[in-house]
Symmetry: C2
Subunit: 449 residues, 2 copies
């Protein structure tokens, strides 16, 4: 019952598309869910993809368009004229239509808008004004509202008219005479209500969670997650109801943020899709590689100060990678915990001091364990003197890295800089340099050189 | 209108709670959203937290319980007797109740179940049988269903009865005589329908997305995301409707998975909360530190083979951290992209060969850029011979790390191992060792030592 795109099915579609068989599309593709059709088109070559797409009706075209991968969609849109785009946009929810319109050049935007009907165009033009990371940029203007002084019968008649434009109805927003949001009404309570009851005796007026158009997208996600909402009303600064945000868009946003954080932690600075061009991928990765090189050059400077000592005891060089890597690893672990708890807003009242104390304690514990293990190994493999040097250095580096890894993101956060940039190569590099200095200083002391 | 927990408010609550002021709770806390009350209780000391909690009524207690942080909830539950827990569970949705029950020891579970009413207990006992990572473990048994041969009037009467148990109604599931899922019905279509219409003329029967009890949780999330669903019906192997999963639980799941992936990429092997004990935190972090140490020891062995060469030209040691770090960074970048595209199911038909080719190309490009930069820097800081050695080594290491970073997660995935474990310290370590070998071999060649 559930659609699964197989290699065989894809082969068949490719063959039929290159033959130009429209009857095959009618039989096998047109009845699929738009998301599935988009999945198929994403996998087809340019000409075949266009052939399938053009054979869908206007409404389906709009829905499929929304589900395509960004790069594929871009290619498609560029091959349409303004009239075609306009008719596809008219079948979409306003937030989706605004997203697609926002991807076009200003010149194309004007052409498309000129082809649309006045009312739809006005909504879109307004939505385009909002920053895409705010509630205004995320909201759609399709929603259902009821006046507080209506009776249930009147309400149902009015809603039926409104509902034509609204694909999914979750909650009815109750407004007063000046269109200000005053409460919520569930479809359930309306369905079971006595026809003569007034809305004002039915609606929920406490614990109404709403956002304003300038609320940050991540804050919207946090609220919908916290209060388990499937839609959230958006009001302007006068509390007038202007739109709603649905959970499917927030799920997308949460996934994108998570992907971005993961990439950031892995040293990729821009959110690029795997199928982007080599140039774009390179540009996204080079910043971190340069930071890494810079750190490596600093490290070389530090070691350079101990050239004489290495000449005397080359074995000191053996454990350079170990000390550097462990400092980096511990630093990343500590900073990841801080970054995550800052992002999730957990433990917001924990003071910096108590966090650092805990991480330092943890560093002491892990430093003792790792230091002891490495002492035994180095003693056996090399010499007890080197064992003492490496284990003492490792212990110090771990404690130091734990404290630094906790402090840096907290300080960045305090000064309004996204602490997510502090994990990955940045902290690794910093701890490398400091760790090497500790290690060689320790070596000079222990070996007396 | 929106609640925001401030330091001042928290201070006030602490003071009032330690004074034992129940009127304060009545006035300022009881009317808040359960999620907000939980946020307050999370921040209170043990005794104060219990004082506030015990003053809430049974229903509110259940709702607040669900929203507490896991560690706080555990402490709470342990301080209640079986009868108290039973009455709190009866006010919860079955999936939440099962989650809490699942956290108890088997002995306590039996005690609590004995105190519950027969019907609720039966539902819970069945839910406990499912693995918590499957649709069965995520679903709740509260949902609304309609028989396909009912008329709208009959349907509304029956639904009113059913709706008492179901807090949030999104979709009505349509079943046949043997309780098999045959379609969906929106509340909207029911609300606007003629009372005499039959359900069979109203319901949606195509594109019905459902899952079976044994469907993996991540697959459920993927489906709800792909098809923009707010709830998904769960059927057993005979297609009988047994439950539904709502989007709020899936949002939690997506967030948890993202947190876990982020921690994994940062070298933390278990999902632990920031406020866990130092012992637990240490245990979560040591595995990766041990892998790092193991890699460092291997690295020491590799460098050990070049002791004579380092004795002759100590400057070779200067760039050990640079070569090691860059191999690690590039490897992590490449593997992160693969891991993410595997997790999101994108580009599933891209062959291994074409991925590796692309990453190799990217490695060549970035290797050339980084190699050129480091050649100039090393030449200026040290000597042209060292410049040639370091830049050639760096170039080779980057290309090699890019290929390895792509291949390893793909191979792990092919053999059914979660490729997320391949990023972070594991790939870093591997590339360190290989990178050092390349570097010193290059050094021997260039310096002729």
């Amino acid at each position: 019952m559930r659609f699964e795109l197989t290699k065989e099915f894809l082969e068949e579609i490719r063959e039929m598309a290159s033959k130009g068989s429209t009857s095959y599309i009618d039989q096998r593709i047109i009845h699929l869910h738009p998301a599935d059709i988009a999945e198929i088109i994403d996998e087809l070559e340019n000409e075949q993809a266009k052939f399938v797409f053009r054979h869908l009706d206007d409404e389906l075209q709009g829905e499929v368009l929304m589900e395509l991968e960004e790069e594929v969609r871009e290619k498609f849109i560029n091959s349409f004229d303004a009239k075609q785009i306009a008719s596809q946009l008219e079948n979409l929810d306003s937030d989706d239509a605004a997203d697609i319109l926002g991807e076009l050049s200003t010149k194309r935007q004007l052409e498309v808008i000129a082809e649309m009907n006045e009312e739809d165009a006005a909504d879109l033009v307004e939505l385009l004004n909002y920053d895409e990371d705010t509630a205004g940029g995320l909201m759609q203007t399709e929603f259902i509202k009821a006046k507080i002084d209506w009776a249930v019968t009147r309400c149902i008649v009015e809603l039926r008219r409104q509902a034509e434009d609204v694909e999914k109805v979750y909650t009815i927003y109750v407004v007063d005479d000046s269109d200000k949001l005053v409460g919520l009404l569930s479809l359930k309570s309306l369905l079971f209500a006595n026809p003569k009851t007034k809305i004002k005796d039915l609606y929920q007026e406490t614990n109404i969670i709403s956002v304003t158009t300038n609320t940050n997208g991540e804050e919207v996600a946090r609220l919908m997650d916290k209060y388990d909402l499937v839609s959230i009303p958006v009001v302007d600064l006068q509390r007038k109801l202007v739109g709603r945000i649905t959970i499917d868009d927030i799920v997308d946003l949460i996934r994108e943020e998570a992907d971005k954080d993961f990439q950031m932690a892995s040293g990729i600075s821009e959110n690029v899709e795997a199928n982007a061009s080599v140039w774009r991928l390179s540009r996204a990765r080079l910043p971190w590689l340069f930071i890494g090189m810079f750190g490596g050059i600093l490290g070389a400077q530090v070691i350079g100060n101990f050239e004489v000592q290495i000449g005397k005891i080359p074995a000191l060089a053996f454990f350079i990678p170990l000390v550097a890597a462990m400092g980096g690893n511990v630093g990343v672990q500590s900073s990841a915990v801080v970054v995550q708890s800052l992002a999730n807003g957990t433990n917001q009242f924990t003071t910096i001091l108590s966090r650092v104390k805990k991480e330092a304690l943890l560093g002491l514990l892990n430093g003792l364990i790792c230091g002891s293990v490495i002492f035994l190994v180095t003693w056996m493999l090399e010499s007890p003197t080197l064992g003492i040097t490496v284990s003492l250095a490792l212990f110090t580096v771990i404690v130091f890295a734990a404290i630094l890894g906790t402090l840096i993101p907290l300080i960045l956060h305090k000064y309004g800089i996204d602490p997510a940039v502090a994990t990955g190569p940045f902290i690794t590099t910093m701890n490398d340099v400091v760790g090497l200095f500790i290690y060689f200083s320790m070596g000079m002391l222990v070996f007396g050189i």
